[in-house]
């Protein structure tokens, strides 16, 4: 019941808002969307706790079933999605992307909110799908609404950028997901089942060559979504252009689909094949860490900077996964969640700044946040600290365990240890760029009360959103056990007692 509510309520309301309810006025649409998000989110949380199962035939001829079930691996992600879903809808009170730069209306608020809800629904479905093909379909569900969010409600200043970013997003992701589809079909055909529960056993006797091929296709496809270097170039464009809520969803939910998929598909089903390509993945992840970190040192656009930092952070997650061990998967999962809340927090803040300032070009000198808007400043420094992996905040655990995991990997010890060593350098880069941002944006000279570019401090729902995310950052940082205890059993079942 909860599972159905979680999938149907936001989905149906979202669809209705995008089609029939487009003409709704802003106030009504917001309330409806928020109610839907809250109901869906609550249902998701309940479902994460109760673990109900839906399992019924959908397309028998393809062997695809409506099989939804939340297990330990997906529960934290579902909960994360639930929280983020409510927050992004609530954020519509703070930022109104349906208005253009001059305050005129450039789109329907209802459509915007509907798109948000649809993205959330897609994520719910993907995280709870227990059928490989169903997972793929759910994976695709988020594309169009996200495309609408970026292309239609993105940066009001540049139409060309919007078009470019949204096209990049959808095409890049589509190439990834279609490759993944080929991999899934190959896997499902060889194994004879699409059910996640039966797949690992069924795929166990595939030949190594087959496994490698399948793992390559799946990993390649999912790597786009993660994104893994060098398949990341859609991300900065999308993040820079998307409205705040879009960036938050993208970073906190959509990227997670990629890593979640990596855990669910290649790692769980074709472990031998996966471990053969793991070194490549690990190296790509590590290059991503350094690459993203280095670019962040010189990037001028704050939103792009955070996007590149996402590349770096996801590099850690990928590295952990590449180790192929239980520890690695645990690290990846908590790294996922942590990056979700941290980047969400940062994007809310930076989106807010962009909204206030008109641009987030770091080369433009503006009054320091610490001076003019202490709350926003505090949130920013919290986010940055978490981003650089400060212990006690969410980012630390994923990073630390992601360094431990490759030390004793399932295979390829030498390569993976080297990767871990290099990745540790990335952690220092993270400090360098995070504090670079802090030095430019957070601190600065004292400002007089009538200085230009004064940013109003955060208040109202924006403050609430920031507060919730900040609290989550601290909570996960202080007690990572809340995530690990949920995931532990599922992960050990999944990795199957690998060393």
């Amino acid at each position: 019941m909860a599972l159905i509510a979680m999938l149907v309520v936001p989905g149906a309301v979202g669809l209705w808002l995008m089609t029939g309810g487009r003409a709704l006025d802003v106030a009504t649409a917001r309330v409806i969307a928020l109610v839907a998000a809250v109901v869906g989110g609550a249902a998701a949380v309940v479902a994460s706790a109760q673990r109900p199962v839906i399992d019924r035939a959908w397309i028998p001829d393809l062997g695809v079933r409506w099989h939804f079930e939340i297990d330990g691996i997906s529960a934290p992600l579902v909960a994360l999605t639930a929280v983020i879903g409510v927050l992004v809808v609530a954020h519509a009170w703070a930022e109104q992307p349906w208005l253009d730069a001059s305050g005129g209306e450039r789109g329907s608020a209802a459509t915007y909110l509907g798109a948000l809800l649809l993205v959330v629904t897609g994520a719910f479905a993907a995280f709870s799908a227990r059928d490989a093909v169903l997972f793929f379909i759910a994976f695709e569900v988020v594309l169009v609404p996200m495309w609408v969010l970026i292309g239609r409600y993105g940066d009001p200043h540049s139409e060309a950028k919007r078009a470019d970013a949204s096209a990049r997003f959808i095409l890049y992701t589509a190439i990834g997901s279609t490759l993944m589809l080929v991999g899934i079909l190959l896997l499902v055909w060889q194994a004879g089942t699409a059910d996640f529960a039966e797949l690992p056993a069924a795929a166990a006797d595939l030949s190594l060559g087959q496994q490698t091929l399948i793992a390559t296709l799946l990993t390649l496809g999912l790597a786009v979504k993660v994104p893994v270097f060098p398949l990341h170039t859609w991300l900065p464009a999308a993040h820079t252009t998307a409205p705040t809520a879009g960036s938050v969803l993208l970073a906190a939910v959509l990227l997670k689909l990629g890593t979640y998929g990596l855990v669910r598909l290649p790692l769980a089903n074709v472990p031998d094949g996966f471990s053969r390509i793991a070194p490549v993945l690990a190296i790509a992840g590590v290059i991503g860490i350094l690459w993203g970190g280095l670019i962040c040192l010189v990037e001028r656009d704050l939103k792009r900077l955070i996007a590149f930092s996402s590349v770096a952070h996801m590099g850690f997650v990928v590295l952990a996964l590449a180790s192929g061990t239980e520890t690695g998967v645990q690290a990846a999962l908590i790294g996922n969640i942590a990056h979700g809340v941290i980047s969400a927090l940062l994007f809310v803040i930076v989106g807010g700044l962009k909204h206030r300032w008109g641009s987030v070009d770091l080369a433009i000198v503006r009054p320091a946040l610490r001076e003019v808007s202490p709350r926003l400043g505090f949130a920013l420094i919290l986010g940055l600290a978490a981003g650089l992996g400060l212990p006690g905040l969410a980012g630390f655990w994923g990073e630390f365990v992601a360094l431990v995991a490759p030390w004793n990997p399932a295979q390829h010890t030498g390569i993976l240890r080297t990767c871990a060593v290099i990745a540790a350098v990335g952690a220092a880069l993270a400090a360098a760029y995070s504090l670079r941002v802090a030095r430019i944006v957070w601190v600065g000279d004292e400002v007089s009360a009538d200085a230009p570019h004064r940013a109003a401090d955060t208040r109202g729902l924006e403050l609430a959103v920031v507060a919730v995310l900040g609290a989550a950052v601290v909570a996960i940082g202080v007690a990572p056990v809340i995530v690990w205890s949920v995931t532990a059993d599922a992960v050990s079942a999944l990795v199957g007692g690998a060393p």
Binding site: D61, L62, R106, S108, I137, L181, L185, W189, L213
Partner: protein, 484 residues
């Protein structure tokens, strides 16, 4: 020689012919009673469609007729589920085209031609012998060529000429293929038994392969697969819009049905050694060339019908993709894909018609669609849905399912490199449709074409088609399960 004759099975093909005859008679008696004629035609199509239903629901019944007696028994008509599905789709899409032409304007020629081509299509998908196959295939094609030409426009004449010359050459190839087939197998039926016999002898095997390739080449024209596609953009843009819709839907369905008939015998030999590599290779070439050329060209079009025309070419590649597996599943998948494509294509054409009416001078540029979704939500919504289905993006889930369906047999047959090409094509395809989709969601402009006064029929077709797509998106099994 006595044949079994199950009239019930033949009715889907006979009823349109009966309606055709009735129309001619009524027209001769009462030349002014045009509405009656339209009703007659519609009734004929609906009745025929109704007759296909038993084929979809009854499962154990073999539904064979026109069989010669045992022991040498061969049947010339197979009305199984796959056949019935295609027949139903052909009849209904013809009905939709009839609606697009509009009740008020459909003349006796249109009615006769549509009915003839529908009955040809219905018959060709059920045919299991070369004679019926050849004749009914032409019956499905010739009236459409006439319909394109029957139009007093220079461009239409040009389009018809292009279509005609291509179809003539293709006909030549079909006959050549037929002759080769008979020479190779000594059998005018398209059955696995005859092929398997021929396959045992190397010389005959070679010839049978060649025959199939030549038949394939002849049919590829109807499917507008590259390199037999050149007529498609010209004809679809210059001919009347409803006829373009016909070419993109009913005609495609008939073509794929005919192709399935040709490829079905290969079930018997696909697992033998040596296998039918020639046929697979030919199909792969057609698939890859169509997908890539079609999408790449569609990407550059700014005129909507031309874009749809090139997308037809690309979709032909997708239709052929599952067939490369040469399995039952592959054929069913091709049918499903064609079905989805035909519905989506019809919706798109209907929407275009609902926007432009019969005025071609408005310029069917993409820019004219700016903001359509807000200006004209019904048409815009239907069009958007159709585009999403064609692109294979949720919420057009059925489009996505169709892509899965199409990829599956190819992947299972170990042709995953082709599948990887399909990935590229799919992404380019998304770019094509999203380009248009994006325009729909843009800001409405002032100089948009005025809404035609009478467009209920077009809109109705678009909406019914959309409804089909929506239902199928929620429950793809309804569509996917039809064929099995």
């Amino acid at each position: 020689m006595t044949l079994t004759m199950d009239w019930g099975l033949l009715l889907p093909a006979l009823l349109p012919v009966a309606a055709l005859a009735l129309i001619l008679v009524v027209e001769a008696i009462a030349p002014t009673a045009r509405p009656v004629l339209v009703v007659l035609a519609g009734f004929g199509l609906v009745a025929a469609a109704a007759e296909t239903i038993p084929g979809l629901v009854g499962d154990d019944d073999p539904r064979l007729t026109l069989c010669t007696p045992a022991p040498d028994g061969r049947c010339m008509w197979d009305g199984g589920a796959l056949t019935s599905t295609l027949q139903l789709a052909i009849l209904l899409s013809t009905l939709a085209v009839l609606a697009l032409i509009s009740v008020r304007r459909a003349g006796v020629i249109e009615l006769v031609m549509l009915l003839a081509s529908a009955s040809g299509g219905v018959a060709v998908v059920a045919a299991r012998d070369l004679g019926t196959w050849l004749i009914t295939l032409e019956l499905a094609t010739l009236p459409v060529i006439a319909l394109v030409a029957w139009r007093d426009r220079r461009a239409a004449a040009h389009g018809a000429l292009t279509l005609l010359t291509t179809s003539l050459v293709s006909f030549g190839l079909l006959v050549l293929g037929t002759a080769l087939w008979v020479t190779a197998t000594g059998d005018p039926t398209l059955t696995g038994e005859s092929l398997a016999t021929a396959w045992a002898v190397p010389e005959q095997r070679t010839l049978a392969g060649l025959a199939t390739v030549v038949l394939l080449a002849g049919l590829a024209f109807k499917l507008s697969a590259v390199p037999f596609h050149a007529w498609t953009p010209t004809t679809l843009t210059s001919g009347p819009l409803p006829i373009s819709a016909l070419l993109a839907s009913s005609s495609k369905l008939a073509a794929i049905g005919a192709l399935i008939v040709v490829l079905a015998p290969y079930d018997a030999v696909v697992d033998l050694s040596p296998g039918p590599h020639v046929v697979v290779a030919a199909l792969v070439i057609l698939t890859v060339a169509s997908m890539l050329t079609g999408t790449v060209m569609a990407l550059r079009q700014t005129e909507v019908v031309r874009l749809l025309a090139w997308s037809t070419v690309a979709q032909a590649g997708w239709i052929l993709l599952p067939l490369t597996a040469l399995t039952v599943a592959g054929r069913q998948a091709a049918a499903v894909y064609t079905l989805v494509y035909a519905v989506a294509g019809l919706v798109a054409f209907a929407a275009v018609r609902a926007i432009h009416g019969r005025r071609v001078e408005d310029g069917r540029e993409l820019t004219a669609y700016t903001g359509l979704f807000r200006r004209d939500p019904l048409t815009g919504g239907a069009l958007a849905l159709a585009l999403l289905v064609l692109a294979g993006l949720p919420p057009g889930v059925i489009g996505l399912v169709a892509k899965i369906v199409a990829l599956r047999p190819a992947v299972s047959a170990g042709l995953w490199p082709v599948a990887v090409v399909a990935v590229v094509a799919a992404v380019l395809g998304i770019a094509v449709y999203v380009r248009w989709f994006a325009v729909l969601f843009g800001e409405p402009t002032i100089d948009a074409p005025a809404r035609p006064a009478q467009r209920r029929a077009s809109l109705g077709v678009a909406l019914i088609g959309s409804a089909v797509l929506v239902v199928a998106s929620a429950l793809p099994q309804l569509l996917v399960g039809l064929v099995s």
